[in-house]
Amino acid sequence: MPERSESATGQLKQIIEAALLAAGEPLNPAQLAALFSDEERPPADQISRALEELREDCAGRGVELQQVASGFRYQVRQGLQPWITRLWEERPQRYSRAMLETLALIAYRQPITRGEIESVRGVSLSSNIIRTLQEREWIRVVGHRDVPGKPALFGTTRTFLDYFNLQSLDELPTLAEIKDMDTLEPELDLEQATPAFRADEAEAAGDGAEDPDAGGPESAEAER
């Protein structure tokens, strides 16, 4: 590669790295391109390449370049949480099961009304939960169902995906399958019936094991 082009790429990388660290929120390639004046704006593939190189440059460092729904961001390398959480006195927030189940229903079943959430969960839904989720900008009203009362239909936001480190809803854990009563072998054991499901859980639990605050569900299970 000729010297000059390399140094141009070098500056491009510097600008992108600085912008991502200065912005305080994920930036997408279009936002990165907008940092340059019309004359000096690099083509999209150069920006992608710079991002890829920056990602590789993070090897062995304390941060990593992560792509989430609304763009790219630098974040602390996973695994360093035990030290980094000591920066703050506050313990990370835990979410109630009601909130998580509601969020899960909205994420997997969107667009969905409050009534539909209640019917799956079998209990009425407190307005607090919907309000809290809206205030966090994790969910939003995406329309109204055309039935009497015109109930609001909820969907998740990009902020929700960003918060959970996801690029798209496709990356959510797979929803367990519904088994048909008729097709079930009578002797089929419960644990065998849901092997994929169990494996997922084991993985999730593995991540959580390092974190004293993770594993809400497990400990809740133990309490009972």
Binding site: V76, I84, M181, E201, D211
Partner: protein, 267 residues
């Protein structure tokens, strides 16, 4: 001393199969996200198959649980009582001989309940999976760097041509300028050229008439330039001067000193 009387039976201890410490009943109730959750718990705890629920046993346990809670005057959501009724109904249908359908298929009375339980269970699992995902503030922390002299650059607003034209429409109709026919007849390029000629003239006291025309522009350009000069002259923005018959024509700003007479020959 019994702590509860259920169906006339004194209870000195909580039924063993519930595993509930007596002082924690209310807390435990809160641990359940509703009747489906409680049912799932009863089924799972005994390692029973969700697809083949022993209705008699499950209904007995569920009702027992509800009764204990009620004996303690613990406020129960109506959903719990509705579920008790549903269970009792399914149980009775299971006990009765089922009328065979024409195709020989029999709908299991538990089918709807099983479907609801499974549906709830998958989202209960999804909620746990969601909770297990790495998330901001617990597992993830964004990295940021300090920026010196962080200033907000204020950019001028975007303007769309349509906005400008609508504004013009407004001001024109207010001023009733549409009634002036000469405005409509005047090509805009003439106005544009008028500005260009004025601009060229500034800094000079005069220009040769011919130099305001560029042959490269073609006939149309010459016409535009000529019309622009005529309009400028009519509006008194320029003077067109000829020092002698058939002599060189000059264009000058009206305010500029009339020094064309001194240098026409070698211009």
């Amino acid at each position: 001393m019994p702590f509860a009387i259920v169906q006339g039976q004194p209870y000195t201890q909580v039924p063993e199969d519930l595993y509930i410490p007596p002082d924690a009943l209310e807390v435990i109730l809160e641990a359940f996200e509703g009747p489906l959750d409680l049912l799932l718990y009863l089924i799972r705890r005994q390692n029973l198959d969700i697809l083949d629920i022993p209705m008699v046993e499950i209904t007995r346990q569920y009702v027992q649980y509800i009764e204990v809670l009620q004996e303690f005057k613990i406020e129960l959501a109506a959903e719990y009582l509705v579920m008790a009724a549903i269970l009792a109904e399914i149980k009775s249908r299971m006990l009765l001989p089922r009328p065979g359908r024409e195709d020989g298929e029999e709908e299991d009375p538990r089918a709807e309940l099983v479907r609801r339980l499974q549906e709830y269970e998958r989202f209960k699992q999804a909620a746990e999976d969601l909770d297990g995902l790495p998330r901001m503030g617990r597992d993830l922390f964004t990295a940021g760097a300090h920026v010196d002299h962080r200033t907000v650059v204020r950019l001028p607003p975007e303007v769309r041509l349509r906005e400008v034209l609508l504004a013009l429409q407004d001001v024109m109709s207010r001023a009733e300028l549409f009634t002036h026919h000469h405005i409509e007849l005047e090509p805009l390029s003439v106005r544009e050229r008028m500005s260009m000629i004025m601009d060229r003239l500034s800094g000079h006291s005069y220009l040769e008439f011919a130099r305001l025309f560029t042959s490269g522009e073609g006939r149309r350009g010459v016409v535009v330039a000529f019309l622009a000069l005529m309009e400028l002259s009519r509006e008194g923005l320029v003077d067109v001067i000829q020092n002698e018959p058939l002599g060189q024509l000059y264009v000058k700003s009206p305010g500029a000193p009339d020094d064309t007479a001194r240098i026409p020959e070698h211009a």
